[in-house]
Symmetry: C2
Subunit: 414 residues, 2 copies
């Protein structure tokens, strides 16, 4: 079955908001074994939205639209879709109740326009929005082909969309594709190994893949492998994935950081620290809080991380960590000293120091330099890593240093 995603919104088309919805939908579809073939973005323009939907109708089996379900005149998705499908819109009583409940909590009355958010296809199925006001809607269309066509409308607010996707759309799609057997995906995550290295090591497996299939996705310092097995029942599919996963894990064990689509290096590190009963404090220079704000995204992080310091110069670091001769030390020695003293100041088992020496290039647009990462664990000698930072924009270098710091920390607590 071919799926297609249409993102609706002038703010997306003009680039004032980055579209994260299309990607999220595509990832969720993949876990059902559904590949996205096309993606279009259109503005809040009825004619062009109609064209986009008609184009999609000709080539795709499942068409998911996101955005344009709100209460304003710009929100045209429901009306345009109803016109194209030859259906009409009616109010959904359950969504109306949700809307009234939200406004009651706020202590205000909803504007008349707000009720438009409860509109749904008369001959379709409502996808309730339990995290917002505008309901989604699904419509099944007969085609000349054996399979029916499904058109789904989802809200554009990212977390409302995500909530509906998980709780309403996924079960809906699971029912559609059930006839074709069960498809199960298993995600494996690896850190600190490059895409080409993984491809080489798994070459045989990738070339001979049939069921489960093996797909690989690379982010900076992070590789996700998705195994997708199809079988008669979920249990069999899961067993097939598990068997393949164990074989892959054997080959890449050193870099494995866990299963799951949401598993990150941050989740892994926090988990390891918890298991080892180790607390951590952090000193950040060039990254200025990026490492700490990343790590603290993990639920339950406060069991192992309680605080840290951002410092942009030696004098500040000296006064906050109670050091005296930092400015006289080399940057490498300073990294070691501050890691140890960070643990001392914050009374933690581990101290992590993340700093850099940075020089702007002649045009001033790009930076380069040297990164320093040091980890002190009580009772052990300090470990330090120093590496060149290539000529890149500031934001790229800060992310690079953050990723290196988390990877180095991971290796230390592994």
């Amino acid at each position: 079955m071919k799926t297609e995603i249409i993102s609706v919104g002038t703010e997306l088309l003009m680039g004032y908001v980055v579209d994260t919805n299309a990607g999220r939908i595509a990832r969720e579809l993949l876990t059902l074994g559904l590949g996205t073939y096309y993606q279009q973005t259109v503005g809040d323009n009825p004619d062009r939205l109609r064209d986009a939907l008609e184009l999609a109708s000709k080539r795709s089996d499942i068409i998911i639209l996101t955005g344009g379900l709100g209460p304003t005149q710009d929100d045209i998705t429901k009306q345009v879709a109803a016109d194209v499908l030859g259906d009409e819109l009616v109010l959904d009583e359950k969504q109306l109740d949700i809307i009234k409940g939200v406004f009651k909590k706020r202590g205000t009355e909803p504007d008349e326009k707000v009720y438009r958010e409860a509109l749904t296809f008369k001959h379709g199925q409502t996808l309730l929005n339990e995290a917002g006001l505008a309901c989604g809607s699904a419509y099944v269309r007969e085609t000349n082909k054996e399979t029916k066509q499904h058109i789904l409308l989802l809200p554009g607010v990212p977390y409302e969309m995500a909530h509906m996707l998980k709780n309403k759309v996924k079960p809906y799609l699971q029912e559609i594709i059930q006839d074709e057997g069960v498809i199960e995906s298993l995600f494996m995550n690896f850190n600190g190994i490059g895409e080409s290295k993984v491809a080489t090591l798994l070459n045989d497996k990738i070339e001979n893949q049939t069921n489960p299939t093996i797909a690989m996705y690379a982010k900076p310092r992070h590789i996700t492998i998705r195994l997708t097995a199809s079988a008669k029942d979920a249990e069999t599919a899961a067993r097939m994935n598990q068997k393949a996963a164990e074989e892959i894990q054997e080959i890449l064990s050193k870099h494995f950081i866990g299963y799951g689509e949401d598993q990150t290096i941050e989740t892994y590190v926090v988990d390891r620290l918890k298991k080892k009963n180790l607390t951590l404090s952090i000193l950040e220079g060039f990254t200025s809080g990026l490492v700490m704000s990343s790590l603290t995204r993990v639920a339950g992080v406060s069991a192992v991380f309680e605080g840290g310091l951002v410092s942009l110069n030696d004098k500040m670091t000296e006064s906050q960590l109670g050091l005296e001769d930092l400015s006289d030390a080399s940057a490498a020695d300073a990294a070691k000293m501050t890691a140890e003293q960070c643990a001392e100041t914050f009374q933690t088992a581990i101290g992590l120091s993340v700093t850099a020496e940075i020089t702007p290039n002649t045009s001033g647009q790009l930076l380069s330099g040297t990164g320093y990462i040091a980890v002190f664990i009580k009772g052990k000698p300090v470990k330090m890593k120093q590496f060149p930072l290539p000529e890149k924009p500031q934001a790229v270098l800060r992310d690079l240093l953050k990723n290196e710091a988390l990877a180095f920390l991971k290796d230390t607590v592994n």
Copy 2:
């Protein structure tokens, strides 16, 4: 002239990488008065890329493709485009020199495949990539219409794309549209006022807009107004924009935070602190470094910000700031105390404290609570703001609190 953007890459279509390029291109086009009408995303699939390009050829005057220029077999954009356009690919000597230079610096030899990145249209124009290896390419096509059609290929690596966009594509397009007169854009930024409020206040102006046109873009707590004037020469257009800007500024003066497409609340705050010769330190609880890492994106921030503390609990804050009775105080009083003590500890003129009391909802997926922001300026009573945090995911609430903190800081140093 209608423009269309095609993003190429299976990793984009499948949602494993968020596409930031299409938006960046659309924003840059707007500064030239060029509106984006369509945006498509396709995978590394020659047939579907061909279809996408042929569809775009039928409806758009300027077609910009991004991605798929690299050295691997997946990188098909140049070849598919050459086929569709009936042109062939040749090596560009200048790009070859850049490639050889990069490898010489690394001390290694390039793989034969790498040279493919220097391929360009034989009858087109090369867009040199000075920030990477793969050159872009532009092709002019005769059409049945009065205007010619332009097809541009750009790399997919975001900062390489951004570099080429600014330095090669913008001048290229400026030349194309010159015949139609000069178009100049002016961006104005506002903080702490809602989209509908701005729309109401500027209603007359927006309804009667002709030249310059007025467009409005809303982000959380940030409104950008783009004025676009067309005139015979740049000076006249700039003057027209300036006149309209002054009228708008008069109406919204309280919220104005400066001109420019890249102007942010962070840039504004750092600028104000510099002008007033004030230094700042920050204590972050729930945001855990988000405020500091945002603020330190601004070039030259170290003149006013040297450091701050992340602390997830009272005990840690007490020991690091030398406070004794924090746990006994109300959260509101604690916010005031920590703002003042932060300034004392870090020896700065201003202390900013950003904290929250947070409760997870029953399912544990969403959080809610109360945010506290306090600003201490030496010699003045501490200012404090306390406000409810609605039920949302953690990441949404952290961003919300960060934005509120920066807005409150702005009001204080205005």
